[in-house]
């Protein structure tokens, strides 16, 4: 039995709303399988499993906002449990007593529920077997976890006792999912007039679609603001620029692409990323994370590609283990990732975990970009426009395609000389692209 927790998709994320589940108790999942969708300030993402096993319980109802690290899915070891599909799964329409829950698993009835910020623990399954809430009941009885008592406010407990109401069937909407006076009142009303199809008058929100594009952009702005503010507050940046003649690289690339169908054509950007990744191998103090006062270098290069979204905002999806990619693989990954980012089809495993970032504003014509490091990373490499510029070649003036490569790095971890060596190394590698 193990719990999958809400992953962090970056330093700027501290909570997410569960939009929907696409697995149910009893389903076997492999690492990488889709579990459901979550919505952060940056949009909706597919949540893929980081472990294999059998879903024992979904611990968080759709529409609920939970903080990073909250257990959201309980997995059992992958021993098949044939009868695992819970008979009292939440969809069961005859679930007793709480009329508002059963047919709307994505809508716990209180509009405030998704907001409840103080609910670090997953709302617990009530003690009694039937859980008519939106939560899945624990699937497999044998190794059942210690019974988890729901929070009940003192007032709610007193009123329930006075009316002889069994609280096992009541969904809490208060702080930390506590059952409140209002929840008890609803349950009593439901019990008293036995017309199950009469939900309370409260409008039922549809949390999955509660975020309009405008609020997502607002949320995105807040998330970006939080990350860059933290970066500029905590990270002493230093900045370097280096101009590189791309004459040889672009000529090589033109020859390379001429022989290939359009689907295999390599972008100059991929060449730049490739040179950066290779150069990083020699400067470990630029690749890794600085957390809790200490820097941890990474042997693998997980490159965050800073990607602007149409309509505003930034996401930095990660090409994992970029040092193992050939140029063609890197190019394909870059195209795929950027296109899926803009199409809103990223998976959670593609966010977070970056060890360095690359930002490229060259297509928009700027000469150089001085990046803001994405914490807890310690460096960001920027590419400006590849533009024809006057360039001295063998004592003569020539016109060459030149790019300005910039580095913003964390001075706590590295010094300018290492950054300079790194940029120079990228420049050298771009003179001999055929080695790429």
């Amino acid at each position: 039995m193990s719990d999958i927790r809400l992953p962090s998709l970056g330093a700027d994320m501290d909570a997410a709303t569960i939009v929907s589940w696409c697995v149910a108790p009893g389903d076997a999942v492999q690492k990488g399988d889709l579990l459901g969708e979550i919505e952060t300030d940056k949009g909706v993402f597919d949540l893929d499993s980081r472990e294999a096993g059998v879903v024992a319980a979904l611990l968080v109802a759709p529409g609920t906002k939970v903080t990073v690290g909250t257990p959201i899915v309980r997995l059992q070891e992958a021993v098949p449990v044939p009868t695992a599909a819970a008979p009292e799964a939440p969809e069961a329409p005859e679930a007793p007593e709480a009329p508002e829950a059963p047919e709307a698993p994505e809508a716990p009835e209180a509009p405030e529920a998704p907001e409840a910020p103080e609910a670090p623990e997953a709302p617990a399954a009530p003690e009694a077997p039937a859980a008519p809430s939106a939560l899945a009941a624990p699937a497999a009885p044998p190794p059942s976890p210690s019974p988890h008592h729901p929070h009940v406010s003192p007032l709610a407990r007193r009123i329930a006792a006075e009316h002889g109401l069994d609280l096992a069937g009541v969904t809490g909407t208060g702080v930390q999912g506590a059952i409140t006076q209002a929840d008890v009142a609803r349950a009593l009303a439901a019990r008293d007039d036995a017309t199950p199809a009469a939900p309370t008058g409260a409008p039922v929100p549809t949390p999955a679609s509660a975020h309009t594009p405008a609020t997502i952009v607002d949320g995105m702005r807040r998330a970006v603001a939080a990350a860059v503010t933290r970066s500029k507050r905590d990270i002493p940046h230093y900045y370097l620029e280096h101009d590189v003649d791309l004459h040889a690289a672009l000529a090589w690339l033109a020859r390379h692409n001429a022989d290939r169908p359009i689907t295999e054509r390599v972008l100059p950007a991929a060449l730049l990323v490739r040179a950066t990744v290779q150069a990083l191998a020699r400067v470990p103090e630029l690749n890794g994370v600085h957390e809790h006062g200490a820097f941890t270098p990474s042997s693998a290069v997980h490159v965050g590609i800073v990607t602007a979204l149409r309509g505003g905002g930034l996401v930095a999806p990660v090409i994992a283990d970029a040092q193992t990619h050939s140029l063609a693989e890197l190019n394909a990954a870059l195209l795929d990732l950027v296109q899926r980012t803009r199409a809103g089809a990223l998976r959670t495993s593609e966010l977070g975990g970056g060890t360095i970032s690359i930002t490229n504003l060259g297509d928009r014509g700027v000469r150089a970009v001085h990046g803001v490091i994405y914490p807890p990373q310690v460096a960001i490499v920027g590419f400006g426009a590849i533009a024809d510029r006057p360039w001295a070649v063998d004592g003569m003036l020539a016109v060459r395609p030149v790019v300005t490569i910039t580095l913003a790095a964390d001075h706590r971890v590295s010094d300018g000389i290492r950054g300079a060596q790194f940029l120079a190394d990228i420049g050298r590698r771009l003179q001999a692209p055929e080695d790429a």
């Binding site: 692409n257 054509r265 950027v338």
Partner: protein
């Protein structure tokens, strides 16, 4: 395929990448990347999409010819 059909196809692929594009507001004779915010990834994605829809492989040396909407439609029809 008629010129109008091809134009509609090109616009549809463009809008798949840049949903904000208003086909009626595009100047067919001006380079697309001056009118639509397309970076190199978007642009290559656009050309790949055209390739998949029409079977026409546009070599890099012909990028100049397909830079405008009109040029693009004419090029695809010609090939």
């Amino acid at each position: 395929m008629t010129q109008d059909e091809m134009r509609a196809l090109v616009l549809a692929e463009l809008q798949r990448i840049a949903p904000e594009v208003d086909g009626a507001a595009l100047d067919g004779a001006r380079p697309l990347r001056e009118q639509v915010d397309l970076d190199s990834v978007d642009y290559l994605g656009f050309l790949v999409a055209l390739h998949k829809a029409t079977g026409v492989d546009i070599p890099e040396s012909d990028y100049e010819a397909v830079a405008t909407l009109d040029g693009c439609v004419a090029y695809l029809l010609a090939h």
